[in-house]
């Protein structure tokens, strides 16, 4: 299974992601923000955490208009699996591939710690091998992790099973404790916590997401 990991100027989780995905059985290639290649050879494209373009203007704003995102949008439009972690989620929201936006934590503090997450929905490629209300322990490391959306959009997302992960103890003021969400067609998923940092050290709960993705892809191609 081929996976592509995008590197933007200021990405700092790209190597960790490549490592975690390789451990889980993916064949990983790196993708450069200035290129806009055809991504159809990939089964999964991942936008990593970090501080793309210095997080100037708004987190993820400039990465969202970089050349590689034209390819990512096309890939997502064709049903390809796109995952965004931390800054990757911020980029997906800025690019309009996911609803809502991420703003400064309520506390104004950068928060770096392990958090407990609740699995809200499993009818999707990302959490299909978990059970509803399972607990995952992942680290978070962000200053702008407060997810914002309006009530009508929240209700629509809830009804369509787009909210996949919530915080058990909301660390940043996110609306309805949202920690991870997907689009309507469920092929684009973004989360603030870092599964790649919970793959071979301390918590290994990250593996549960990687194996869900792998199994979903295998079932699809079978």
């Amino acid at each position: 299974m081929k996976a592509g990991v995008v590197t933007f100027p200021g990405s700092n989780c790209d190597e960790d992601l490549a490592y975690a995905l390789s451990l889980s059985g993916f064949e990983v290639s790196s993708l450069w923000h200035k290129d806009s290649p055809d991504l159809s050879e990939f089964k999964l494209v991942v936008l990593p955490g970090g501080f793309s373009y210095g997080d100037y203007l708004r987190t993820g704003a400039m990465a969202a208009v970089s050349p590689i995102m034209q390819s990512v949008k096309q890939f997502a439009g064709q049903g390809g699996l796109v995952l965004g972690i931390c800054n990757g989620l911020q980029i997906l929201c800025e690019a309009g591939l996911l609803p809502g936006a991420l703003v400064r934590n309520n506390s104004l503090k950068f928060i770096c710690k392990d958090v407990a997450l609740n699995v809200e929905d499993t009818n999707n490629p990302w959490t299909s091998h978990l059970k509803k209300n399972d607990t995952l322990i992942y680290p978070i490391a962000h200053g702008d992790g407060r997810y914002v959306t309006d009530e009508p959009s929240y209700n629509a997302m809830k009804e369509k099973g787009q909210i996949l992960l919530t915080y058990k103890n909301n660390p940043n003021g996110s609306a309805h404790d949202i920690a991870g969400l997907c689009n309507e067609t469920k092929n684009v998923f973004g989360l603030m916590p870092h599964p790649e940092r919970a793959t071979d050290l301390r918590s290994q709960d990250g593996k549960k997401i990687w194996s869900s993705i792998l199994n979903s892809l295998k079932e699809k191609s079978a």
Binding site: L57, R58, A61, M62, V65, C93, E94, P99, G100, A101, V103, R104, N105, N106, S107, L108, R146, V148, T149, D150, G173
Partner: protein, 80 residues
Amino acid sequence: MKARIHVFLKDGVFDPQGNTVAGSLQSMGFKKVKGIRMGKVIDLELANETQDEARREVQKMCEQLLVNSVIESYKLEILA
């Protein structure tokens, strides 16, 4: 030609920065402070010939990059 954009978080999006600064002012004795919303100002220098053209282009820039309409609102001034 110059343009100035004022960007603010929309009403209803909590502004922790404004809230914290308001709290400080109140504790300093400025008891009449009821609330603060903090935004940002973006100044542009443009080579456009007419104000109308400049306004149209800056509006596009706001829609496509400078402002995120999910969370922010803006006010645009064209300065001669």
